[in-house]
C-alpha cells in the first residue's frame, strides 16, 4: 500500500500536470507569459533555496549563474548567420561562431553544465569564508560576471545583448522542467546528502566533527543549484528572446532572495509559493503604474511617472516581513502542515 505522503505527492504532481495542459486553453498570451515566468522562477527559487535555505550558505550570486545559462543557451541556439548579423560591431570570437546546435535540449544542458562548471571553480574561492563574508564575496562574483558580459563583446556582444533568440520556451518546457526540478530538489533534500546539508546549516563545526566532508557537500549543493539556475537562465532567454547584461543585475538575486525568504527559508513548498506570490503579485500590481500625478512641492514641480507599482510592492514586502518573520511556510513543507492539521483534529476529537 502506498504511504499517505506518496499519495499526496502524486496528487500534487497530477494537479501540476493538469495545470500545464489546461493553462494554454484558459489564459491569454499575456497570461501565459506570466505563467511561464512563474514556472522559470520556481526552478530558480527551489534551486537557490537548496544552497541558501537548506545548506544555510548565504550565497548571493544566482544572477551570475542565470546569466551564464542564458548566454550559453542563446549562443548555442543562434544560427551562424544570425550571429554574424548581430555581432557586427566588435566582431565575434570564432569559437562562439562555430558553436551551434538547433536542439533546445542540448542548449539547455549546455547552459546548465556551464553554470555548474563555473560554480565548481568558484566554490574553491567562496567556501574559504563563511557567513556574511560569503555573502559579500558571492555578491561580488555576481557583479563580476555581469561586468564580464559587458566587457567581452566578442563573446557576448556587450551592452547590445543578443536578440532574436528562438522562442522555444513554452509551458510544456518551463512547467515540465519546473516539475523535474522540484522532484530532484525534494529527492536531494530527503536523501543522505540533504541531511548532511541541513547538518551544515545547523552547525557546521559539529557536522564536520561528525565526519561530514563539509566542503564537498557545500560544493554539491552549490553545483546542483547552479546547474538548475543555468537551465532556468536558458529557459528565460528563450522566453524573452533577448539577453542583455542589465537583466542579470543583482536585483535578480534580491528578487530570488525575497521569494525564498517570503516563502520560508529552507522550504521547497515555500519557494514555489513565494515564486507565485512575488512574480504574480508584482504583475497584478501593474495597474498602479497607470497613475500619473502632478503636484507642486515647495514651488518645485514634480511629475510622477511610472513606478508606483514598485513603491507599493516594496511596502507590501516590508509589512509581510514584519508580520511573517519566518516566511509563509517557515521551514515546513506542505505535508508537514497536513500532518499538523491531522494532529489538531485528532486532539479535538478526544
Amino acid at each position: 500500500m502506498m504511504s499517505r505522503a506518496k499519495i499526496s505527492h502524486l496528487t500534487f504532481l497530477f494537479l501540476a500536470l493538469a495545470f500545464i495542459f489546461v493553462s494554454p486553453r484558459i489564459f491569454s498570451d499575456y497570461g501565459m507569459s506570466i505563467v511561464n515566468q512563474i514556472a522559470i522562477f520556481i526552478i530558480l527559487a527551489v534551486s537557490y533555496n537548496l544552497i541558501n535555505g537548506v545548506t544555510g550558505q548565504f550565497s548571493l550570486e544566482p544572477n551570475g549563474f542565470v546569466a551564464v545559462g542564458a548566454y550559453v543557451a542563446a549562443l548555442v541556439l543562434l544560427s551562424t548567420e544570425a550571429k554574424e548579423e548581430q555581432f557586427f560591431y566588435d566582431g565575434i570570437n570564432p569559437f562562439i561562431l562555430a558553436l551551434h546546435s538547433p536542439s533546445f535540449i542540448v542548449a539547455l544542458l549546455a547552459a546548465g553544465l556551464c553554470a555548474c562548471l563555473l560554480s565548481f571553480i568558484l566554490s574553491f574561492a567562496v567556501f574559504r569564508v563563511r557567513g556574511d563574508y560569503l555573502a559579500i564575496v558571492t555578491l561580488g562574483f555576481g557583479i563580476i560576471i555581469k561586468l564580464l558580459a559587458l566587457s567581452f563583446p566578442t563573446f557576448t556582444n556587450g551592452s547590445r545583448g543578443i536578440n532574436e533568440i528562438p522562442a522555444y520556451s513554452n509551458i510544456y518546457w518551463t512547467g515540465g522542467i519546473a516539475i523535474i526540478a522540484v522532484i530532484l530538489i525534494l529527492n536531494i533534500v530527503y536523501s543522505k546528502y540533504g541531511r548532511a546539508m541541513k547538518a551544515i546549516r545547523d552547525d557546521e563545526d559539529a557536522a564536520s566533527a561528525m565526519g561530514i566532508n563539509t566542503f564537498w557537500i557545500k560544493t554539491l549543493a552549490f553545483g546542483t543549484s547552479a546547474f538548475l539556475e543555468g537551465v532556468g537562465g536558458g529557459l528565460l532567454a528563450c522566453l524573452l528572446t533577448t539577453v542583455s547584461p542589465e537583466q542579470f543585475d543583482f536585483l535578480l538575486t534580491f528578487q530570488l532572495l525575497i521569494i525564498i525568504v517570503l516563502g520560508g527559508l529552507g522550504s521547497t513548498t515555500g519557494a514555489i509559493l513565494g515564486s507565485i506570490l512575488v512574480i504574480g503579485g508584482a504583475e497584478w500590481l501593474r495597474f498602479l503604474d497607470e497613475f500619473k500625478i502632478q503636484m507642486e512641492f515647495f514651488g518645485a514641480e514634480i511629475q510622477t511617472g511610472h513606478g508606483l507599482r514598485m513603491v507599493v510592492f516594496s511596502l507590501i514586502l516590508i509589512f509581510v516581513m514584519l508580520f511573517a518573520r519566518r516566511g509563509i511556510m517557515g521551514d515546513r513543507e506542505l505535508l508537514d502542515i497536513f500532518k499538523a492539521f491531522q494532529k489538531r483534529f485528532k486532539g479535538s476529537e478526544k
Partner: protein, 298 residues
Amino acid sequence: MDSTLFLQQLVNGFSLGSMYALIAVGYTMVYGVLRLINFAHGDIMMVSAYAALFCITSLNVPFLGALSLAMIFAMVVGIATDKIAYKPLRKAPRISLLITAIGISFFLQNLFNMLFTSTPKAFLPPAYFEELINVGGISVTFGSLLVPLITFIIVVIVLLILYKSKYGIAIRALAFDVQTVNLMGIDANRIIAMVFALGSALAAVGGVFWASMYYSITPTMGTLIGLKAFAAAVLGGIGSVVGAVIGGLIIGLTEVIAVAFFPELSGFKDAFAFIFLVFILLFKPTGILGINFEKSRF
C-alpha cells in the same frame, strides 16, 4: 606615465576613496551593533543628495547650509527606517531583517524614481569646488583636496565620539554583547537609533560630495556605491571604523589608478572593489583589521 599625472591620480583616488570611506563607516557601525548588511544605506546617501539638490535649487540655501540640512534629513530617514523596518525584528532571524533592508532600499529607490524620474538631475557644486590649485607642479581641483580633508576631520570626530564619549562606550558595549548592555540599564534601542543617525549623517556627507564631484544624481546611484562601500568595510575588517576608512581608500585608489594605467579596463572599474575583496579574504578571512564575527563577538 609621468610622476605629475600619477600624483594627480593619487589625489583623485584619495578623494574618491574618502567618499567610499564615509559611506563604509556607516555600514560598519550598523553591522557592528545589529549584524545587519544594511542594503538601504546606499539609498540613504542617494536620498540626501536629492535633499541637498532640493535645498540648493528650490530653497536657494547656500551649499554648506544644504549640506547640513541634507545631513539632518538623512538622520531622520535613517532613524525612521530603523524604527519602521528593523526595530520590530530585533528578535527575528537575521535574514528577515535583511529582506526588510532590501525592501527599504527598493522603496526609497522607486519612490525617488517615481518623484524625480530616472533621468539624471544636474547638481551644481559651488564654484570653489572646481577651482584649480597648483601644488608643486600638479594641478588639482579644490574639491578633490577638500573632500579627503573633511573626511579626515569627520572620521576623527567619529572616533572621538566612539572612544571618548559616554554614548561611544555604549555603542561599543552594544557591539560587544547586546544582552549584557540591556542588563546594565542602557536603552539599546536608543543607542541603535544613534548609530543609524550617525551613519546616515556620514552617508549624507558622502552623497553630497559625490554629487558635487560628478555633477549628477540618479535614484539608482546609491546601489552600486553602497555595495562597493560595503565591500570596503569588509575589506578593512567589518566592525572596525578605521578599517572601513582604510578599505574605502584602498578601493578608491585602485579604481582610479588602475583605470589611469590601463584605460582599456575602464569598463571593468566597478569590479575592482570585489576582486580585491576576494583576494584579501582568501588570505585574511576577516579583513585587514577584522575580528572574527563567526567565532566570537569582538
